[in-house]
Amino acid sequence: MGKADSDHARHLLHQMLRVRRLEEQCVELYSAAKIRGFLHVYIGEEAVAAGVMSTLAPDDAVVATYREHGHALLRGVPAGAILAEMYGHVEGCCRGRGGSMHLFDAGTRFFGGNAIVAGGLPLAVGLALADKMSGRSRVTVCFFGEGAVAEGAFHESLNLAALWQLPVLFCCENNLYAMGTALARSESQTDIALKAAGYEIASWSADGMDVLAVEEAARRAVDAVRAGGGPHFLELRTYRFRAHSMFDPERYRDKKEVSRWMERDPIDTLRKALETAGKLSEKDWKSIQREVEDEVKAAVEFAEAGTPEPLEDLTRFVYSERSPE
């Protein structure tokens, strides 16, 4: 591993740790009843968001699901704005109107945060259509779980994207379970990349526990999409270590399966690989951890210090404040 490579790997490690710590903090805040609603954490899947996001340009677009804290954070939404949103404060990235499942940020072209399974796919197709019609070489990346594959919107979207050769990258985060439904209990064809290929879309799968593998596959795909190669599809094989949401008693999978996957923790794996290669000293790791701790602590303070939107503003943003005559 050359110096540039190892610097970059350390950067990815840092990114994954940011997501991990922010979400561990969310779980704590949830247990302390500081934040409410549904909370879905991404713990275990960080390599996917970290690997894909690192290949995007600032004016690309990202569409995600309700398990999107990590996507938002790594897309550039400040941790404080994310947490403040969960507190329901006006300082949140959606002024407290979205909450955990509906994070949005115009500045980073982060288009949600969508709590309808597969609801974001058609939006991504449309964003890509707008880029294509306007002659821009931007890429739209759409994240969704393997559960979305059973929805009609998935098929409609893949068909449209391929038919119109749109610049969109579909990223299926295959963590094997849709709530408690294992893939094999919901799909007749469980090879998702193959299913996408049926729409004449170039599709690959990659190890979603290995951030470098994710990044490499994503870079290839993003480059191809940007070069006008039409839609691409990545199936990223990953696993969530925690329950589906804070309400899930997790009766559908056994603890041994979870601990087997935890041995492949994407953060530990990369850290060990770097240590073994002599590219990460104890001191480096400590300093990454400290930096992340500081960031999360500051985010909590920011969110705590936030203010609720005044009640008079309840019905703001239902319609635009500028309407045609």
Binding site: C94, A106, L123, G126, L127
Partner: protein, 326 residues
């Protein structure tokens, strides 16, 4: 100039495409076929497949893509063949188009226009005849337009495209062939007010869209009997023009709402409630309603007619209101 509702609508689409390079029309059979109701006939040849864009049969997919394209800076006009098929895209309309601005705390506008046909009267049976615009008018975040006249067919589209929020335009299927005079320089109209189509003193007949012609006929008949009915065309079902509605009732003291939707849970129920809430002491009679019978619209002509608000039923309801002790 002599024209039809269909041609006025087409002129509006042509005009919008010429005015703004971000505008395009997308939907099932809008292109090569010329539009299921021939609204876009000829536009494919004129503007090509990029801007008159045929889609596969995938309402959720292309309505959602319209929302995405709007987010991406375009000004899509999405055509859904009929409101019945819009049910396949309700998720996108209700959960995305109507909510994104609010959920994003004001960051993401959805400047989308969706056009669709609504209504009965053509013996198409239940799955092509329903009037569900009242349902969609239930959804905050959407603007619901119901052009009933040539002026509105010609003029509402451009204003809707200027609106930063999603607008749904409902075109009643029986209106397309309505012919009449339209000013040569007819252009954009407002999309926020109701319009008095016939001023009167004795009763307010409140309606919109496809039932306006029947209500105007009813008003003419009532006039022959010495009842001077005011006809209010709502034009916009959301947000409703309360001032116009209450203003008319304050003048006439009686109201009958005519709505091709079903009575239960309908837009006419909302109108009746608003009138009683806000103008109870102006009223000389209970608010009347003429709606469709509560059945899936039947195919057989006599059954279909029996299910719909007709001139006779409107006249009868108005007579009853006027006859009520006041």
């Amino acid at each position: 100039m002599k024209t039809t509702y269909r041609e006025a609508m087409r002129a509006a689409i042509r005009d919008a495409i010429q005015r703004d390079e971000r505008v395009f029309l997308m939907g099932e059979d809008v292109g090569a076929y010329g539009g299921c109701f021939a609204v876009s006939l000829g536009l494919f040849e004129e503007f090509g497949p990029e801007r008159i864009r045929d889609t596969p049969l995938s309402e959720a997919g292309f309505v959602g893509a319209g929302i995405g394209a709007a987010l991406g800076g375009m000004r899509p006009i999405v055509e859904i063949m009929t409101v019945n098929f819009s049910l396949l895209a309700l998720d996108q309309l209700v959960n995305n188009a109507a909510t994104l601005l609010h959920m994003s705390g004001g960051q993401f506008n959805v400047p989308l226009v969706v056009r669709m046909t609504t209504g009965a009267g053509r013996q198409l049976g239940a799955q092509h005849s329903h009037s569900l615009e009242g349902w969609l008018a239930h959804i905050p975040g959407l603007r619901i337009l119901t052009p009933a006249t040539l002026e509105d067919a010609r003029g509402m589209l451009w204003t809707a495209l200027e609106d930063p929020d999603p607008v749904l335009i409902f075109e009643h299927g029986t209106l397309y062939n309505v012919a009449g005079e339209l000013a040569d320089d007819a252009g954009p109209v407002d999309i926020s007010t109701a319009a008095v189509r016939r001023p009167g003193q004795d009763i307010s007949l409140i309606t919109y869209g496809g039932t306006l012609p029947a209500v105007l006929d009813a008003a003419a008949r009532l006039a022959a009997e010495g009842i001077d009915a005011e006809v209010l065309d709502l034009r916009v079902l959301r947000p409703l023009d309360d001032a116009a509605i209450l203003g008319s009732v304050a003048k006439t003291h009686r109201a009958v709402v005519v709505d091709e939707g079903w009575r239960s849970g309908s837009i006419s129920a909302e109108l009746s409630a608003r009138i009683t809430e806000n103008a109870f002491f102006d009223l000389d009679a209970p608010v009347g309603r003429v709606c469709s019978a509560e059945v899936p619209l039947p195919y057989a002509k006599h059954l279909e007619l029996a299910a719909l608000p007709t001139v006779e039923r409107i006249v009868a309801a108005a007579r009853e209101a006027v006859g009520a002790r006041g």
